[in-house]
């Protein structure tokens, strides 16, 4: 999307805005009341989110280890230097990125298929939607435990299908595969649900018209359904990518980071809560936030104006 189109799009929004006439006394007083009513919520948000985030940034610039309280001091960006020059960080980042990209891609394809199935089903629609949602309703830790048992030789039904002596959770590549499988199984329903909402945006007449014009199912999917669903796809992919990047519980149960399967969140957790090195741990947390922000930024840029909140404008343009 080029800059001109964006500013063009913004134009109607400001034109639609209220004329800048002086407000009446009643309106002003209502504004004040609105501000007052919002204030407690804003204050609570400041206390519970802005303060910890600010404190984490502050800690990340300190040498701050609970075990050596008298050595605390300001060290600038040294903690970031330690993290960024550590092989553990880059390995965890690579592992996390692989898990994120592969699992979200698989989830998107299966999720879309499930969404189409749910949307098109004529009989037992409620039943199918309920069944599809079951994995999502199971607590991740519980599901992770059942995967762990299933893949443990001598105990699990899935391990029993493998040749004797193969333990998939003990090898880097296959363990990552099992983690991705557990993630996909667990969160595909969520993806399907978000995409289902998007499918409802596609007008039936349009599809029927295309069909009459000779468009086959694949053409209808790629030329009509997917473009029309773009906002829903953006939301679904964005949510799942950010979620997948912060993966913790599945890995914690399945391998606890053995064989190089630790994610960046686990690395942060270990440095914060196992060794009490709050400086390094906070630096890792801040870096995770930065990476997540980059993801969000790239997504919004890629999908351009279909970002949430811009939908009205786009609709009007059409």
């Amino acid at each position: 999307m080029t800059m001109t189109t964006e500013s063009d799009l913004r134009a109607p929004a400001s034109a639609r805005g209220h004329p800048r006439a002086p407000l009446s006394q009643g309106a002003r007083s209502e504004h004040r009341l609105a501000a007052l009513l919002c204030a407690p919520a804003a204050l609570v948000i400041l206390v519970v989110t802005a303060y910890p985030i600010g404190y984490a940034i502050y800690l990340s610039l300190q040498r701050f280890d609970l075990r050596f309280p008298e050595q605390s001091s300001f060290v600038g960006l040294a903690n970031y230097g330690s993290v960024l020059t550590s092989g553990h960080w880059w390995q965890a980042l690579t592992t996390t990125l692989i898990i994120t990209v592969v699992s979200v891609a698989i989830e998107f394809v299966i999720g879309l298929a499930l969404a189409l199935a749910m949307y098109r089903t004529l009989i037992g629609r409620g039943l199918i939607r309920t069944v599809v949602l079951i994995p999502y309703s199971i607590i991740t830790v519980v599901a992770a435990f059942s995967w762990q048992f299933a893949w443990t030789p001598g105990k699990g039904y899935l391990a029993a299908l493998l040749p004797q002596g193969v333990a998939p959770l003990t090898d880097h590549t296959s363990a990552i595969g099992v983690i991705i499988l557990a993630e996909v199984w667990k969160t595909t329903p969520f993806m399907a649900l978000l995409l289902l909402v998007g499918l409802a945006l596609v007008p039936d007449e349009l599809l029927r018209a295309a069909q009459i014009d000779g468009a086959g199912p694949w053409k209808r999917l790629t030329k009509i359904i997917l473009p029309m669903m773009k906002p829903a796809i953006l939301v679904a992919l964005l949510f799942r990518t950010l979620d997948a990047f912060r993966i913790f519980d599945n890995i914690y149960i399945l391998t606890n980071g053995s064989n190089g399967t630790a994610s960046v969140s686990m690395l942060g957790y270990d440095n914060l809560f196992k060794v009490f090195n709050l400086g390094i741990g906070s630096a890792i947390s801040v870096l995770i936030v930065i990476v997540v922000s980059i993801f969000a930024f790239v997504f919004i840029k890629l999908f351009g104006v279909v970002a949430p909140g811009a939908e009205d404008d786009e609709r009007r343009l059409r």
Binding site: L33, P40, L43, S258
Partner: protein, 445 residues
């Protein structure tokens, strides 16, 4: 009129806002004190025995203080995290803590626990086994009074081998022989990336005459050939065809289960496996039937794993030199945030007295730290307790450094999976990693 309505609304809004803020800011109210109450933090496992000890000592105090048990988390890491969080936040309602033996240096250095008065420490030193006592000291002072201790033995199948192996190499040879004959053959060790792997390494390196770290932080791991021998044993066990394929994710419980299921011929593990093997009920371990050759079977052969279960001294690394097994266990410490340290020190003496240690031993199989208990019934009569006492006498202690957690994580990371240990390269990495960890520098994996 309008203004009136707005005024009322504004007042209401302000009131709601105030309420919200008040609700957010309301802290925990503190109880009014009625006599001295001491809070005792104990882990979930064994909570019943500790609660019994707490009740006993409250009665024994004759009203001078009341002990209040508090249940801490199940996993050791979570217990430590909970205690540290409270201590850093100056929680005064935390007086006595049951601490893992590896936390002493860390908690002492951070100023979270008080040293015991010298006379009390001397008295405890006289009545306590030497190695367990050492786990409670830091820089020459006693910070944590030993309550229970723990040590590993070799547990093995008497029907599969004529006599227990004396060394690791003999054990590997025996296991490979069993595998060749199609019999249960696994050697169960703690190979997962966790504290148990560090324990295994510490036992092996000290058994081979080496050590990891001195108390003033000198990294000794590469001195002598102790580490090389230890790493060699670990690699040989893990790469042996007789190894359990799950070795690199195996913890204490996995080892116990493999033996109870009839799959393992040997395991190195703590004394809890003994209690579990002979326990009845759904968790009762040794119920698995075995056929005349010793293989697990579903048929009722009248012979079970528990009938052929035996124990022996932990295998040595150097032939003829007994292994120095790493001690575990729990110690009792008094927090610096406590407002009643005098009463707390007194209560600790009661909590670790003869009666309470004996209860822990008999009901939960936890080895006592009071020397005399091993020389009196019922412990004197049980062979397994005497094997434990022998093991404790030659035992070793894990490195005493405030950064122990970092050191241990670095070791466990570098040695996992044990099958990929290359003694030459890993030794240099261990030296570098431990040197960084001791000073809490860098990122831990």
């Amino acid at each position: 009129m309008c203004g009136g309505v707005y005024g009322w609304r504004r007042a209401a809004a302000a009131a709601v806002g105030l309420l919200l803020v008040a609700a957010t800011l309301a802290g925990c109210g503190s109880n009014a004190s009625e006599g001295v109450v001491l809070y005792v933090y104990a882990p979930v496992d064994g909570a019943d025995q500790y609660a019994a000890a707490v009740a006993y000592c409250t009665r024994a105090a004759g009203g001078r203080y009341t002990l209040e048990p508090k249940t801490s988390a199940r996993s050791t890491d979570d217990q430590r995290l909970q205690l540290a969080r409270r201590l850093v936040a100056d929680d005064a309602d935390l007086d006595i803590m049951l601490m893992d033996v590896i936390w002493t240096a860390e908690f002492a250095r951070a100023g979270w626990i008080r040293p015991y008065p010298a006379d009390l420490a001397r008295q405890m030193e006289q009545e306590t086994l030497e190695r367990p006592y050492e786990t409670g000291t830091y820089q020459g002072k006693l910070y944590a009074a030993p309550l229970n201790t723990n040590t590993q033995l070799l547990w093995y199948r008497k029907d599969l081998v004529p006599h227990p192996p004396k060394t690791w190499d003999e054990m590997i040879k025996m296991a490979e022989g069993l595998k060749a004959r199609g019999l249960p053959h696994y050697i169960e060790v703690q190979g997962a990336q966790f504290e148990g792997l560090t324990v295994w390494f510490n036992t092996l390196i000290t058994s081979a005459g080496g050590s990891i770290l001195s108390e003033n932080g000198d990294v000794l791991v590469a001195r002598g050939d102790g580490a090389r021998r230890a790493l060699g044993v670990m690699a040989r066990v893990a790469t042996s065809p007789a190894a359990n394929p799950s070795l690199s994710v195996s913890e204490e419980t996995d080892a116990r289960l493999a033996m109870e299921a009839g799959l393992a011929a040997f395991q190195v593990n703590y004394s809890f496996v003994h209690a579990s093997m002979y326990a009845s009920g759904p968790d009762g371990g040794g119920d698995t039937f075995i056929d005349p050759l010793g293989r697990p079977t579903l048929q009722d052969t009248g012979r079970r794993v528990r009938d052929v279960f035996g124990w022996a001294a932990y295998p040595s690394v150097m032939p003829g030199k007994p292994a120095t097994v790493t001690v575990g266990g729990l110690n009792l410490a008094v927090s610096t945030t406590s407002r009643h340290p005098r009463e707390a020190f007194e209560a600790v003496q009661c909590l670790r007295n003869r009666k309470n240690q004996l209860r822990n031993a008999v009901e939960a199989g936890l080895p006592p730290t009071l020397r005399e208990l091993y020389n009196a019934p019922p412990l004197r009569e049980a062979l397994v307790w005497q094997a434990i006492l022998d093991s404790l006498t030659t035992a070793s202690v894990r490195p005493k450094t405030p950064a122990y957690q970092s050191v241990s994580i670095v070791i466990a990371d570098l040695l996992n999976p044990p099958a990929e240990i290359n003694p030459d390269t890993v030794l240099r990495q261990l030296t570098d990693g431990i040197s960084e960890a001791v000073n809490s520098e860098g990122v831990v994996p």
